[in-house]
């Protein structure tokens, strides 16, 4: 029988959820043995990715990427974190930060499959379209 990535991840999650690390390790061993028996190691990358998403969703955690032209002030970051909490109802926000000079100014916030684009570059691009239009 063919087992899909989704099915693997669901099983894995239900077997490890709410367990201590030691117990979880035992479950993981079994899980890897199952993968080996089903010759499904090629799905490992996909499983890790989907598991990550599922874990975040179930535990109301949001991983967001914040790209800005230069380092942002702590207060600005707080505003953005609050915004994310309000939008997604998440309890925990993990913010990965990055600097990209090409944005000129402002920031780009990415989470799940959403983008909040407040960069000067996009602003100028849009202005260009409006003026040309």
């Amino acid at each position: 029988m063919k087992v899909s990535v989704q099915q693997y991840v669901k099983k894995l999650y239900s077997s490890v959820a709410g367990k201590s690390e030691k117990e979880a390790q035992k479950e993981l061993k079994n899980f890897v043995a199952l993968l080996g028996r089903n010759r499904s190691f090629n799905k490992a990358d996909e499983i890790i990715r989907v598991f990550n998403d599922l874990w975040n969703k179930e535990n109301k955690e949001v991983v967001a990427t914040l790209v800005s032209a230069r380092a942002l002030m702590v207060s600005t970051k707080e505003i953005l974190t609050d915004y994310l909490k309000e939008r997604t109802g998440a309890k925990k926000i993990t913010l990965h930060e990055a600097i990209d000079k090409k944005l000129i100014g402002g920031f780009v916030l990415k989470y799940d499959s959403k983008v909040l684009d407040g960069s000067l570059k996009t602003y100028l691009d849009q202005l260009k379209v409006v003026l040309e239009g």
């Binding site: 939008r87 990415k110 799940d112 983008v115 909040l116 684009d117 996009t122 409006v130």
Partner: protein, 507 residues
């Protein structure tokens, strides 16, 4: 002068400062896989069916359309350069359904299925857009078909009348003159209050160039738009071509006008949809077409309609074309489309090679709307024409064996021979309905019985010339639209008068 300049600069400044870029949240996805004009995109959870997606590539933006909405991915067809898209490229949703420009500005143009010009005459100046997919008008908005579309082709106008709002299939093998019928019909719409849209799906561009030249020469481009998805365009554009043509037609429909739309041809359309479906991994069915190939054509042809007075009274008449392989009418797509349309014009190779062109088979061709879409005069002269033509072909086949025929059979054969002579018509020479009525009147009232069969066409030509000289006759047929006693007398005397000038009659 400088004050105006200052004013403009001030305005520009205030416009720029007042301009607010919209920084609302956008739904984005990533390209997982691209192949053959198809992209699989992750994310985009809020994408709508047939929504426009923008692929942000290194070479600029490319648009696509969402077709498969799955649990965690979206299958999209790419409408632009699919080689520019790479794995991992960002995809934005636009919250807009695919739409095409419509309006008076599209008339006389050659456009691609997205409404972009292909004729080098510059941008299409319009600010109106219609979605390419629309649910067909409902029962309450419709009226029955009763006004005729004059195709200008004698065999069709007499035997298989087409009404405004009807869907009449033109079906036959390759090279039998299917497109010729459609083009002649467009040419004959001059002055008939009809807009025409010719949708070329997977046609050779050289053929379409020829058609455009011919239509321009005949002055038909003044009311015609050509939507071209050539043989070299991708399957995704071929797939949307008829829908965008129909959206353009619907603009005129909403204005209460009559539109004739020709889909040339729907078998290639089905093939392109099959290609897309297989690439999107939808399960194949009969002849490898997907399960919804019937709906593909039924939802398109259902948009042809005649609206009632309260809804503007406009109409869309659809002439879909289907190319059969070796006359096989029972293949999947032909049977589907035959069952959807209100009748079909079947072209036959035997007739074609015998020189009966247009090669319309009288027995297999039907129009379900029928004579309610004929003017009264035509109804009177052409009433039993189809039956007679079909009977003649059977009799002719039968009479090859025996030599002794009774008088009645012989009379039928003679009439049939002359009838088939009259059905012969050259390409690009549509004939007005008045002249058709005149000829048929002469035939069914035995005025042609003493014209030799090989002279029938000459006789006919002469009759038209005579009628043109005495134009009041044609005029009164055109205005009265029915043959009353007075007009009948007039027609009779004219024909008899003309016959005195003819030398080749059988004594």
């Amino acid at each position: 002068m400088s004050s105006t300049k200052d004013f403009i600069i001030e305005q520009l400044k205030s416009e720029i400062s007042a301009y607010k870029a919209d920084i609302s949240e956008k739904s984005v996805g990533k390209v997982l896989r691209v192949s053959d004009g198809i992209a699989l995109v992750s994310g985009l959870e809020e994408a709508m069916m047939s929504e426009i997606l923008t692929f942000k590539t290194e070479k600029g933006n490319v648009s696509g359309v969402a077709l498969n909405l799955e649990e965690d991915q979206v299958g999209a067809i790419i409408l632009g350069d699919c080689t520019a898209i790479k794995e991992g490229d960002e995809v934005h949703s636009t919250k807009r359904i695919l739409e095409v420009p419509v309006g008076e500005a599209i008339i006389g143009r050659v456009l691609n299925p997205l409404g972009e010009p292909l004729d080098g005459k510059g941008k299409v100046e319009t600010n109106k857009f219609y979605p390419i997919e629309k649910i067909a008008p409902g029962v309450i908005t419709r009226a029955s078909v009763k006004e005729p579309v004059q195709t200008g082709i004698k065999a069709i106008d007499a035997m298989i009348p087409i009404g405004r709002g009807q869907r009449e299939l033109i079906i036959g093998d390759r090279q039998l003159g299917k497109t010729a019928i459609a083009i002649d019909t467009i040419i004959n719409q001059k002055g008939q209050n009809m807009k025409c849209i010719y949708v070329a799906i997977g046609q050779k561009e050289s053929k379409v160039a020829g058609i455009v030249a011919k239509l321009t020469e005949a002055g038909a481009m003044e009311y015609t738009t050509i939507v071209l998805a050539g043989a070299s365009t991708s399957a995704s554009l071929l797939y949307i071509a008829p829908y965008s043509g129909c959206a353009m037609a619907e603009y005129f429909l909403d204005k209460g006008e009559d539109v004739l739309i020709i889909y040339d041809d729907l078998s290639k359309h089905a093939v392109s949809y099959r290609e897309i479906s297989l690439l999107l991994r939808r399960p194949p069915g009969r002849e490898a077409y997907p399960g919804d190939v019937f709906y593909l054509h039924s939802r398109l042809l259902e948009r042809a309609c005649k609206l009632n007075k309260e809804y503007g009274g406009g109409s869309i008449t659809a002439l879909p074309i289907i190319e059969t392989q070796a006359g096989d009418l029972s293949a999947y797509i032909p049977t589907n489309v035959i069952s959807i349309t209100d009748g079909q014009i079947f072209l036959e190779p035997d007739l074609f090679y015998k020189g009966n062109r247009p090669a319309v088979n009288a027995g297999l061709s039907v129009s379900r709307v029928g004579s309610s879409a004929q003017i009264k005069a035509m109804k009177k002269v052409a009433g039993k024409m189809r039956l007679e033509a079909a009977q003649y072909r059977e009799l002719a086949a039968f009479s090859q064996f025996g030599s002794d025929l009774d008088a009645d059979t012989k009379k039928k054969l003679d009439r049939g021979q002359r009838l088939y002579e009259i059905f012969k018509q050259d390409q690009y020479q549509p004939l007005s309905v008045e002249k058709q009525v005149l000829t048929y009147y002469a035939l069914i009232n035995s005025y042609m019985d003493n014209v030799p069969v090989d002279k029938v066409r000459q006789f006919e030509e002469g009759l038209y010339k005579y009628a043109d000289l005495h134009s009041d006759l044609l005029q009164s047929i055109a205005t009265k639209k029915e043959i009353d006693a007075e007009l009948e007398e007039q027609i009779k005397t004219s024909i008899l008068d003309y016959k005195t000038t003819v030398e080749y009659l059988i004594k």
